[in-house]
């Protein structure tokens, strides 16, 4: 039995991959993301972490506000730090926070959605009122207030994004669980004596996992953009510089009036490209998971 299930799973994976490969936007997104993940993983090889320290930068004799032509490859900032080093190490923080916050978002959203949809009844009512309550609260101000109260650390930012952005996932998953629950194979499993956990684990979850994955991929851009905005507003972790933090420092220290484009362009372009790549990837996965959408959206 187990080998049969494995075989089926492998066949499904092969079919999804074949569909995915035929999508140009999906392949572009995947390639770009692979590149950025490589940069983030290989950060120690690409730039010396000490370059982020202003004392070290001064000892090295780095010039201040150097253009990329005077100090390769991306110039220096107001306290002589290499912008390239900030870009490379910032990609780590931005990607990590974006992915970790999404995992938390999807986890809370999926648990609430599955429980709400599968159990139904009063519990469904209570959970959905809670979801609507979170949905109506303006997301960014709530994140700002929470982050101000909790203090400035990477983990708090991840927590804040996760706790504020799960409701839409919960609603989506619940709707899908409700339709899967009506299918004949669930009745069959139940009449054969399958318990709630068995049905959810073996019949419901496999049928909503595609949707959850697509939703997760589309949630990463929101997490990354939220982290960027929170950091820009001064709520970022002071000890680990994300791309948003770089933009905040550039803005606060007069990079705009100096037209120091090498300082504020790389981080912004990094965010833009990563967000676009995740969106392309997510839309492709969504089309595969939900073929009714077709190519119209």
């Amino acid at each position: 039995m187990a080998s049969l299930a494995m075989q089926r799973r492998r066949a499904t994976a092969a079919r999804v991959w074949k569909q995915f490969r035929s999508s140009r936007q999906g392949m572009i997104g995947l390639t770009v993301l692979t590149l950025f993940v490589l940069v983030a993983v290989a950060a120690p090889l690409l730039a010396d972490v000490r370059e982020l320290n202003p004392v070290f930068a001064r000892q090295q004799g780095n010039p201040q506000w150097a253009t990329p032509w005077d100090f390769g490859p991306l110039g220096t900032d107001y306290i002589r730090r290499s912008v390239w080093a900030q870009f490379v190490w910032g990609s780590r923080v931005s990607l990590f926070v974006g992915l970790a916050a999404t995992v938390l978002t999807i986890f809370i959203g999926s648990v609430v959605g599955v429980v709400s949809g599968f159990v139904g009844g009063k519990l469904d009512g209570v959970l959905m009122r809670l979801t609507e309550w979170f949905l109506v609260i303006p997301f960014l101000p709530l994140a700002i207030v929470l982050a101000s109260v909790l203090g400035r650390s990477v983990w708090n930012i991840i927590f804040v994004i996760g706790i504020t952005s799960w409701p839409s996932t919960a609603r989506l998953v619940r709707a899908q669980v409700l339709t899967v629950k009506q299918r004949l194979f669930v009745d069959r499993a139940r009449s054969l004596g399958g318990g709630g956990f068995h049905i959810v684990g073996h019949h419901i979850l496999p049928n909503v996992s595609g949707l959850i994955l697509a939703n997760a991929t589309l949630a990463v851009p929101i997490s990354i953009l939220t982290e960027t905005t929170l950091s820009f507003l001064g709520l970022g972790d002071p000890s680990s510089a994300s791309w948003g933090k770089t933009l905040e420092e550039a803005f606060a220290n007069g990079a705009m009036t100096r037209n120091a484009w090498w300082y504020f362009l790389p981080a912004g372009v990094g965010i833009l490209v990563v967000v676009l790549a995740f969106t392309l990837l997510g839309r492709t996965l969504e089309e595969i998971a939900n073929p009714r959408l077709g190519g119209s959206r």
Binding site: L140, I144, P221, L276
Partner: protein, 277 residues
Amino acid sequence: MPQETIDNLRVSFGLDKPVATQFLYYVRETLKGDLGISYQSRQPVWSEITAKIPATLALVGLSAIFSAVIGTVMGIVAAWRRNTWKDHVITSGTMLFYSMPDFWLGMLLLVGFAVVLPWFPVGGIVDPGSTATGLERLLDQLHHIFLPALTLTLAYLGEYALITRSSLLDVMGEDYLVVARAKGLRDKIVRRRHAVPNALLPVVTLTAINFGFVLSGAIAVEAVYSWPGLGKATADAIRGPDLPMLQGLFLLFSAAVIFFNLVADISYAYLDPRVEG
């Protein structure tokens, strides 16, 4: 600062009480309409906030209207001319603006059109030291609002264009459009009289809901352009952190979202006869 001063300040802001007591006090005073005293300005939060509402309403109102109108038109063009170059330009262009942080777009426009090409002021709502009144003052304000309003308009365009496009594509498969064409109506009439009015329903809802969120969405952009509204007040309160001010702003932003959600529901029932009121 001597310890005595710190203690006095703590007592004057009620910070010496236990957190639970502080919370009950906050709830009671909020229900009475008192939002407390700002830590930074030592003025009542309520008067601080109300003084800043007009600037934000002007900025957000202008950009909400422009983005809704232009975005909807772009969405209609993209759907009606699906898979032509117009569609591709609109779809990829709006996705590009949708994928960048709004404040970064603001920073780019600021450098481009206030620093490199000094056509517009770098921030504020009027020229500092200006004593102009009447029409001259209004023109000065319009000059100042241009870049932040352009930033927000570009940032919100994408959502309207994409929603309108997919909504119109859904409608385009409907039988009544085939009937309209079979009657021999011209393409333009089919679009204007039969397709677009039906496709606009979700867009109206989106506009109303967005208006609630937009009030709080301009926080980072207002900070970039030092626009003296609720968003910049939020950004300044974070630096404190000025918690009474943040609480008050949060309350106002939430109230705005709930109010405009209600407007969306009511307008939907009014516009779509299929929804029972």
